[in-house]
C-alpha cells in the first residue's frame, strides 16, 4: 500500500489553483464536425428564431455554400418573453435584439422583405425588386397576425380603454401590461380567448388569463371580478390530457368558460366584443336532431387581450407552396410533417410557424425542427437522403400564476414528452417550471439562435 502523505503548502496551493484554472480553460473542447464542400445556393426567407438558428448551424456544416438570408426586419424578437412583459415582470427591451447581432460571417443578408417566391424558376424576389436564385430554399417567414380580421380593432388602441394585445410585439405587450395593471386595481370583467385558426403558442392565451387572475387576487379585487375565457371550439387545449387539467384549473380559479366562440369584432367605445357561434346540432333523447343556428354573441368586458386569426404571409400564400386541401384560408406551407420537406418541391423546406404541420408553432418546436431541416438539407447537398425526424415536439410552460407553471411538452400523437421524466411532472404546477420559463428559457433560446443547442 502506498503511503500517501499530503503536506499542504503555499506552493501546493498555487499548484492546485493553477491546475483548476487549466482545467477550466481546456475543459470545453469544441465538437468538430466534418465540413461538406459545396457550391450550392441556399436561400433562407426569414430571420426569426427558425431562420437564424438554422443559418448558424449551416455555416458549421457547409463550406463554400452561398447562403443568403432575406428579411427586412432589423429587430429580432424573443417572442416567448412577450407574456412576461405583459405581466409587468420584464421591460419591453427584454425581447428585443438586433437581427444582425445573431448572423454569422460569410452569409449574405438581404435587408428587404421577400415579395415573391417562384418555386419553378427557383427564385425569390424582394420588395425592392432584387432577384435571388436558389438551389435550396428554406421558408421561415413566420406567420401573419391578421388584425384586420377583428372588426373595429386597431393596434393604436392597445393600452387604452382596457385593450391588450400581447402578441403584437414587445411595445404592445408593455402597453397591455399598463391596461392590465390599471384593470386589476379596480377589477371588473376580464375577457380572454383564442382565434379559430392555427396559432403560435396556443398556451399563451391561457397563461395571460391565469396571470390576470393572479394579479386580481394579489390586489384583492378578484371577488368583485369575473374572468371569462371564450374558446374557439369545445376544448381549451388541443392535447386531451392537458385539456382536462386546464378545465380542472378553470374550475379551481372560478373562470367562466364559453365554448365555440369565434371573435369577429370589437367595439372599443362601449367595450363590447362580438363572437360568431357556429351552428350546432344535438341528438335528443327521442333520436330527433335539434339544430341551433349560427348566432352572434356579445360579451361586455372591462379588460381584454385581443388575439387575431393567424395565417401565412402573402408571399407564401401567393407562391403556390401552400396546402391546397388543408387549412383553407390559412395557407401554411405544404411540407412532410416528419422531414419538413415540401411535398411537391423537394428542394424546399418549411421551418417554424409557417410549416404546415399539426402543432409545433413555438420556439421550443423550432429548436427541434432546425436539426431536422439541417440534416435533410446537408444530405441533399451531398446527393443522399437524410434520416432525422421531427416528432411534433412542442413545449409550453403554462404559467398558472406569477411563480408557478406547468412544463407541458407533447408531440404529434398528443403524448406527453417530458424533458425531465419523473423529476418535473408536466401536469403539476411547479416553482421549478416557473424558474425555467422566467430565467432558463431565454438563454436556451439564445443558444439555439447561435446554433449551439
Amino acid at each position: 500500500m502506498t503511503d500517501f502523505n499530503f503536506k499542504p503548502s503555499r506552493r501546493g496551493f498555487f499548484g492546485l489553483a493553477g491546475g483548476a484554472a487549466a482545467l477550466g480553460a481546456f475543459g470545453r473542447s469544441a465538437s468538430a464536425q466534418t465540413m461538406v464542400q459545396t457550391k450550392a445556393k441556399i436561400v433562407i426567407v426569414g430571420s426569426g428564431a427558425a431562420g437564424t438558428g438554422l443559418v448558424n448551424r449551416l455555416v458549421q456544416r457547409l463550406e463554400d455554400a452561398q447562403i443568403t438570408l432575406i428579411d427586412g426586419r432589423k429587430d429580432h424578437y424573443y417572442q416567448p418573453g412577450f407574456t412576461l412583459i405583459a405581466a409587468g415582470l420584464k421591460p419591453a427591451a427584454y425581447s428585443v435584439s438586433g437581427t444582425g447581432d445573431w448572423l454569422p460571417s460569410g452569409v449574405t443578408w438581404v435587408q428587404d422583405y421577400a415579395a415573391a417566391i417562384d418555386p419553378e424558376a427557383q427564385r425569390v424576389t424582394t420588395q425592392g425588386g432584387e432577384a435571388v436564385d436558389y438551389d435550396y430554399l428554406v421558408v421561415a417567414t413566420g406567420l401573419k397576425l391578421d388584425w384586420d380580421a377583428v372588426e373595429g380593432f386597431s393596434l393604436d388602441q392597445v393600452g387604452e380603454n382596457g385593450i391588450g394585445a400581447v402578441y403584437a410585439g414587445p411595445e404592445y405587450a408593455a402597453r397591455t401590461w399598463k391596461a392590465m395593471d390599471a384593470f386589476t386595481d379596480t377589477g371588473g370583467v376580464a375577457l380572454f380567448g383564442r382565434p379559430a385558426t392555427e396559432m403560435k403558442c396556443a398556451g399563451a392565451p391561457l397563461k395571460y388569463a391565469f396571470l390576470t387572475d393572479d394579479y386580481l387576487r394579489r390586489k384583492g379585487t378578484r371577488e368583485a371580478s369575473q374572468v371569462i375565457y371564450a374558446a374557439n371550439n369545445a376544448g381549451l387545449f388541443s392535447v386531451p390530457v392537458v385539456d382536462e387539467k386546464v378545465k380542472l384549473l378553470f374550475g379551481e380559479h372560478d373562470f367562466d368558460a364559453r365554448y365555440s366562440h369565434i371573435l369577429t369584432g370589437i367595439d372599443t367605445a362601449t367595450r363590447e366584443a362580438y363572437f360568431r357561434v357556429p351552428e350546432s346540432k344535438q341528438i335528443n333523447p327521442d333520436n330527433t336532431v335539434s339544430v341551433t343556428p349560427e348566432r352572434v354573441e356579445k360579451i361586455t368586458y372591462d379588460f381584454t387581450n385581443v388575439i387575431p386569426p393567424m395565417r401565412a404571409p402573402d408571399v407564401v400564400r401567393e407562391s403556390g407552396l401552400a396546402w391546397v386541401d388543408k387549412w383553407i384560408g390559412q395557407d401554411w406551407l405544404e411540407v412532410d410533417q416528419q422531414t419538413l420537406r415540401h411535398h411537391r418541391y423537394p428542394n424546399v423546406f418549411g421551418l417554424g410557424d409557417i410549416a404546415g404541420v399539426p402543432k409545433g408553432k413555438t420556439a421550443a418546436s423550432v429548436k427541434w425542427q432546425i436539426p431536422v431541416v439541417e440534416d435533410h438539407l446537408v444530405a441533399a447537398v451531398q446527393g443522399r437522403e437524410g434520416s432525422a425526424i421531427y416528432n411534433g415536439y412542442t413545449s409550453c410552460p403554462l404559467i398558472t400564476k406569477v411563480g408557478r407553471a406547468m412544463l407541458v411538452e407533447f408531440d404529434y400523437e398528443n403524448r406527453l414528452t417530458p424533458s425531465f421524466p419523473g423529476v418535473i411532472s408536466p401536469l403539476e404546477e411547479l416553482w421549478i417550471s416557473w424558474l425555467m420559463k422566467e430565467v432558463a428559457l431565454k438563454p436556451t433560446y439564445n443558444a439555439m439562435l447561435r446554433g449551439k443547442a
Binding site: R10, L89, W368, G403, R404, W431, P443, N446, A447, A453
Partner: protein
C-alpha cells in the same frame, strides 16, 4: 432540452442575475474559496472554535440565499408546488449555508491571523 452544455448553463445564470452581478458573484465565490484554501494551508489545521462560529452563521446564509433567489425570480415560498421544488429550495438553502460558513471561517482566519492549535488549546 436537447443539450445542456457548460456554455448554456453559464448563459442561464447570466440571464438570472444579469451579467455583471453573476460574474461579480463568481469572482467573490472564487476569492472566498481561494482565501479559505489559503488559510487552511497556512494554518495546517481546521480550527474547531472558528468552525463553531462559522456554523452559527449557516442558518442566516441559508435564509439569505433563498430570499435572494426568490427576489431574482419574482417568486415566493407559496409557489412551492411539489417535491422537486423542495429539493431545489433545500439545494439553494444548503449552498447558502455552506457558502456563509466558509466566508465566516475565512474572515476570522484572515483577520485574526495565524493561530496554532497548541496556542488555542493553551488558551482554554
Amino acid at each position: 432540452m436537447q443539450q445542456l452544455t457548460l456554455e448554456t448553463l453559464i448563459a442561464v445564470f447570466e440571464e438570472i442575475f444579469g451579467r455583471v452581478l453573476f460574474w461579480s458573484m463568481v469572482g467573490a465565490a472564487v476569492l472566498i474559496t481561494a482565501g479559505y484554501l489559503y488559510v487552511l494551508i497556512r494554518d495546517r489545521h481546521l480550527s474547531a472554535r472558528k468552525f463553531l462560529l462559522a456554523q452559527m452563521f449557516m442558518p442566516f446564509g441559508a435564509v439569505a440565499a433563498v430570499v435572494f433567489v426568490q427576489w431574482a425570480t419574482h417568486s415566493g415560498l407559496s409557489d412551492i408546488g411539489g417535491p422537486i421544488d423542495w429539493i431545489v429550495l433545500l439545494g439553494v438553502a444548503g449552498a447558502g449555508a455552506i457558502g456563509s460558513a466558509i466566508l465566516v471561517y475565512t474572515i476570522q482566519s484572515l483577520t485574526k491571523g495565524r493561530q496554532r492549535a497548541a496556542h488555542m488549546e493553551g488558551a482554554k
